[in-house]
């Protein structure tokens, strides 16, 4: 336990994303992710979680672009970096897992090849060597009979399996940061558990920092050390997970926590109404530029590699 925090892997300062200069989508979001830390980003649909993640990757699509703020990743200024160098970082130092495992893989290429491509691009291996590494990667995400599976095409795999392949691909080059954008929302709960567990295990083992984007507070609680809550393009609150759930500061966070039906919360003999978000936070109180409510990081568990 020490109070001196290591240098963050990723540091986001006052990030602004918009369409041109007119329409702002993300209004000054700031947060840090420390090495080995799993940082959760929650919020309603459209609150700007995904675009934040994409902006770090440098994958914002045309009309959207970063209009202000700073993004620092392992000493690189991502706003100044040459696109070419940013591309080199992608996949190698920072990786991303997307929500839809059905469409995120090239349907016409065997998954082994798609994983191997990572090694070819970033490690300069030749294909045969890379393919062997790909099998290892598949094995590491606990895909049974990985050699066989490496030759399979995406459509031959189940959703959960595909998401494992995505994880294997993302972690292939042992990146320093993994951005997981709703990695399990498309999956069944039972499958979701397995994939989350896998991400957690692998990242702990490698000391990979994770930016986990989700709207499911349960998932966040299970996975993250620290959580940021986004609402209408703003980061309204950031706390350690436990603190956030125990002592939410922002009314929006409180509403979010209260509104969600919790398993095991119903008392026999009654069927109470759920608390609605509006009861906790009035609409006019949302969507203003106010400083993010932050509590300092609590004691960190040692990261064991």
């Amino acid at each position: 336990m020490n109070d001196i925090l290591p240098d963050p892997v990723l540091s986001v300062r006052d990030l602004q994303i918009g369409i041109g200069n007119k329409l702002k989508i993300v209004h000054g979001v700031s947060f840090d992710i420390l090495p080995g830390e799993t940082y959760g980003l929650v919020g309603e649909s459209g609150s700007g979680k995904s675009v934040t993640g994409l902006s770090i990757m440098g994958l914002l699509k045309r009309p959207l672009n970063v209009t202000g703020g700073a993004l620092h990743f392992l000493g690189h200024d991502l706003r100044r970096i040459r696109p070419r160098d940013h591309r080199r970082l992608r996949g190698d130092r920072m990786a991303m897992v997307f929500q839809e495992p059905m469409t995120a893989l090239n349907p016409l290429a065997p998954i082994g090849r798609q994983i191997a491509e990572m090694f070819v691009i970033h490690r300069g291996m030749d294909w045969s060597e890379a393919k062997a590494k790909a099998v290892e990667a598949l094995e590491s995400v606990r895909v049974p009979s990985p050699e066989e599976r490496a030759r399979a095409y995406p459509h031959q795999l189940s959703g959960g399996m595909r998401q494992r392949v995505m994880v294997a691909m993302a972690l292939a080059c042992r990146p320093d940061l993994l951005i997981a954008d709703e990695p399990t929302t498309a999956l069944d709960v039972t499958v979701q558990a397995g994939v989350l567990e896998l991400i957690a295990d692998l990242c702990t083992a490698e000391g990979t920092a994770v930016l986990l984007i989700s709207h499911d507070l349960g998932v966040i609680a299970n996975m993250c050390q620290r959580v940021g809550v986004m609402d209408r393009g703003r980061l309204v609150e950031e706390q350690d997970t436990k603190a956030l759930f125990e002592n939410p500061m922002h009314p929006y966070t409180r509403g979010l926590l209260a509104a969600r039906p919790r398993l095991g919360s119903r008392v026999p003999g009654e069927r109470g109404r759920l608390i609605e978000l509006e009861q906790m936070v009035a609409d006019e109180d949302r969507g203003h530029d106010v400083p993010t409510l932050v509590t300092p990081r609590g004691p960190r568990k040692e990261v064991t590699a």
Partner: protein, 326 residues
């Protein structure tokens, strides 16, 4: 007293013919629903949970008459809803209505909300002219919208509002039963609560019966009176909600409940992933099984056994592992 339940699903099976793999290859039949028995009493909410593809929606569609059963029956107050002598589409409409999962696809984008609602009244000759408009306005208010929303088109509404309209539409004909197929899973958490509250309020004021399908256990727990757990086209456990959630018996039910990422449960621990013990053997990384051979052999053997008051579990499955079943 043995009054027939409001709605009874009796030994329902729905099979789909899949395309043959080769021109002269085997016929392949998908048993989407495979001998399901369920009933709904007046004013009750029956929840159905289960993994994706286990036949929940198919069951619902069959109840609504949108899917022909391969065998079995749907009975409304003891009267068959399909087959000879069954009521026609129009009469049936007054018995049961459905709220669909996707609030975006469930409204005709080319019709104003008002005309969607009005046309139903006109079709059934319930009301005309200003009386009809009044009814529409009433209904919109009832589901938490305002009467002048009637002039708008679906794309002018948010997801939550659309789902309210979907509910309004379903209630327009005063049905006794409302089938809710994943009514909130496409919605944001914050909006989910509103819709769930609305549904619960309506049920009370209108004395409706619900069949509520969801894969979100917490929602089902919150709303249902009884819960059926489906697995591969069959009901594997059925009982009072409290019994199901406090004493899950079938391994699949246990696995399901154990998989739910529960914030409160884990906050004490540093990182809690569901109890692996609850995961049935062989299911952990099992691929999706969309097609499975006829489960003929084990069918007779397996049956629902009452293990508590109103708590049934399918024995054969609890004994034989799902792997063997495949």
């Amino acid at each position: 007293m043995t009054v027939a339940p409001l709605l009874e699903i009796r030994d329902l099976s729905v099979h789909f013919n899949l395309p043959r793999l080769t021109p002269f290859g085997m016929r392949r039949i998908l048993h989407a629903v495979d001998g399901v028995d369920l009933s709904v009493k007046e004013g009750e909410c029956l929840g159905i949970v289960g993994e994706s593809g286990c036949g929940k929606s198919t069951t619902a569609l069959t109840v609504m008459g949108l899917q022909e059963p391969s065998s079995g029956q749907i009975l409304y107050r003891g009267q068959p809803l399909s087959g000879p002598g069954a009521p026609g589409r129009k009469e049936r409409a007054r018995i049961a209505q459905m709220v669909f999962q996707d609030p975006y696809a469930s409204l005709n984008p080319r019709q104003t909300i008002g005309s969607t609602l009005l046309s139903q009244l006109a079709l059934h000759g319930i009301a005309r002219g200003s009386e009809a408009s009044d009814r529409v306005a009433d209904m919109l208010v009832r589901v938490g919208l305002s009467p002048d929303h009637a002039k708008r088109y679906p794309h002018e509404f948010s997801g939550g509002q659309r789902q309210r309209i979907g509910i309004a539409r379903a209630l327009m004909l005063d049905p006794e039963i409302l089938v809710l197929d994943e009514p909130v899973s496409a919605l944001d958490v914050s909006i989910q609560a509103q819709i769930i509250n609305l549904l619960m309020d309506l049920q009370e004021t209108l004395n409706l019966s619900y069949i509520m399908i969801s894969h979100d256990l917490s929602v089902v727990e919150h709303v249902s009176d009884r819960v059926a757990v489906m697995y591969f086209g069959r009901v594997v456990e059925l009982g009072h909600w409290h019994a199901i959630f406090s004493r899950p018996t079938h391994p699949y039910t246990r696995h399901l409940i154990g998989s739910v990422p529960n914030a409160e449960a884990v906050l004490g621990r540093s990182r809690g992933v569901p109890d692996p013990v609850a995961i049935p053997e062989g299911r952990r990384f099992a691929p999706d099984i969309s097609v499975r051979p006829e489960a003929g052999a084990s069918r007779e053997a397996s049956s629902l056994v009452e293990i508590g008051p109103d708590h049934f579990v399918r024995l054969a499955d609890s004994i034989s592992s799902p792997k063997a079943k495949r």
